[in-house]
């Protein structure tokens, strides 16, 4: 047990890094994903095509490859992220945005057409009917799928460990090398760190789902 006490500051920092990665990329992905879904249902063909292309590309590329491109590829077009952490945030949010977009789109498809028709009949235009009628309802029906995306994101942050971000998994590798005799403890501590994020999230999503569910 003294081992855990000795390494507590290290583990705490790693946990906070993982949490920060999750929250920041989650928020960015939500914003980007919402913009993408608006583009995907918009009347403008170019925007629709662009959004579809984006989603299909990122959904079919491993996150590791996205990390690779942002860490080593964009140097070739003379761009560079100021820090490893920001590279990781960019990779995670670009990747997750595609899944947010798909989740939201399934939600938009689940809103009964009558709602949009009524909004149109009241004279709301595309933007108004989307932002005041369809999207608010879509956000409610997509709480479970969005929640799954969020939990997947929390777990996906572990890949940042392969790209020099000192998150929980990176600390796991480091401690595992230094304390080979305490391996079980190291794993337990790291797994608990992830569970602290994912289990309350899962619980919160269930509560939110029950509170927001639209009765039809």
């Amino acid at each position: 047990m003294s081992f855990l006490a000795d390494n507590f500051p290290l583990l705490r920092d790693a946990f906070l890094t993982t949490l920060a990665l999750t929250v920041v990329s989650g928020l960015l992905a939500l914003v980007l994903g919402t913009v993408l879904v608006a583009m995907r249902v918009s009347p403008v063909v170019a925007l629709r095509g662009l959004a579809t292309f984006y989603v299909e590309t990122f959904r079919n590329t491993p996150l590791t490859v996205v990390f690779f491109f942002l860490a080593f590829g964009i140097v070739q077009i003379d761009l560079q992220f100021p820090s490893r952490f920001i590279t990781a945030v960019a990779a995670l949010s670009l990747y997750t945005a595609a899944f947010v977009c798909e989740a939201l789109r399934s939600g938009i498809n689940a809103v009964p057409p009558g709602q949009a028709e009524a909004a149109r009949a009241l004279g709301l235009d595309f933007r108004q009917s989307l932002t005041t009628v369809v999207l608010p309802q879509a956000f409610r029906t997509v709480v479970p799928p969005l929640g799954n995306v969020w939990i997947a994101l929390a777990k996906n942050t572990s890949i940042a460990a392969g790209f020099a971000v000192t998150d929980l998994t990176a600390t796991l590798q480091r401690l595992a090398n230094a304390n080979a005799d305490q391996l079980v403890l190291v794993f337990a501590a790291v797994v608990v760190g992830y569970l602290i994020i994912t289990l309350p999230s899962a619980w919160g999503i269930r509560v939110l789902e029950r509170r927001l569910a639209v009765l039809r």
Partner: protein, 297 residues
């Protein structure tokens, strides 16, 4: 192109949309052009740099092909094992016996909550310590299996629960045992119904096999990396970009093919389900179509 979200555009709106399309197209073209220009001025578009991908003398195409096979191999092992174990876990979680249900639930929830990379590292670092020697391939396949069996178990369970209750009642009525009802009535229907989601998860599994990169399994990404290192050593850092692009493109092509397969299967099962359920369709005629069916995009 019809959608309830906007009217059929009149002449003015059409003009505006055309303008929007052109402007959007121009913005995209400018961005693409900018990227190409930067790449070009850094010499990345030089045909000789891309030729290395197809030049058999440098061993690059062979290595990439081998890496693709490695990736597919570990993914295939993971897919089969995870699907079989997932089906068992799904049945176990629906068991009437508490002493089966509770442990299975704990196993499923645990493996769903732990990051895949941590599982792989656990197999890779911990198992050798307790005397189980395991290769990078084994650790990767085991990690992928453990994680995905839990996810697939939940998918299959949802499928079993969505099968019409009359099906199991009829099976019980025919005198089948619980085990027989599960294996010969419920699970086959559940798997068929959940096939699109199952295949989507298998695409995720294939993508996740790229984590083998971190434990040193020679899959696509790792191979691209090691090729970059060898070639950089020989010729200087000129092939980095090309090799990563190639690895990325191979992943995209394979995954898109798998996704298309999923779509084709979905269409097929849809059709056979409709043919089988013509009487049911007659009964529902006159009621409005299900909301999800309305295509709006």
């Amino acid at each position: 192109m019809t959608s309830v979200l906007f009217d059929v555009p009149g002449p003015k709106a059409r003009r505006r949309q055309r303008l929007g399309t052109v402007l959007g197209g121009v913005v995209v073209a400018v961005l693409v052009g900018l990227v190409l220009w930067r790449l070009g001025s850094n010499g990345q578009l030089d045909p000789s740099r891309w030729a290395v991908l197809f030049d058999t003398r440098t061993n690059v195409p062979q290595r990439l092909l081998e890496a693709l096979l490695n990736t597919l191999q570990v993914a295939a092992v993971g897919m089969v094992a995870a699907t079989v174990l997932g089906a068992f876990l799904a049945v176990g979680r629906l068991s009437d016996h508490v002493w089966v249900r509770v442990p299975v639930t704990v196993v499923i929830e645990f493996f769903r909550a732990v990051p895949l990379l941590v599982l792989i590292l656990f197999c890779f670092l911990f198992l050798p310590q307790v005397g189980v020697s395991i290769s990078a391939f084994g650790a990767l396949a085991l990690g992928l299996t453990l994680y995905n069996m839990a996810v697939l178990a939940e998918i299959i369970r949802a499928g079993i629960l969505s099968v019409d209750r009359g099906q199991s009642e009829a099976a019980y009525g025919l005198g089948l045992r619980k085990w027989q009802v599960m294996t010969s009535v419920l699970v086959p229907q559940a798997v068929r119904r959940m096939l699109p989601v199952l295949v989507a998860q298998l695409v995720v599994l294939l993508k996740d096999s790229s984590l083998g990169f971190i434990v040193g399994y020679l899959e696509l990404l790792r191979t691209a990396r090691s090729l970059v290192e060898t070639l950089n050593f020989q010729f200087g850092p000129i092939y980095t970009f090309q090799l990563y692009v190639a690895a990325g493109l191979i992943y995209i092509v394979v995954n898109v093919l798998l996704s298309q397969l999923a779509k084709a299967i979905e269409k097929r099962t849809d059709r056979s389900a409709k043919v089988a359920a013509t009487t049911a369709v007659d009964m529902t005629a006159g009621t409005p179509p299900v909301a999800g069916d309305t295509q709006r995009v």
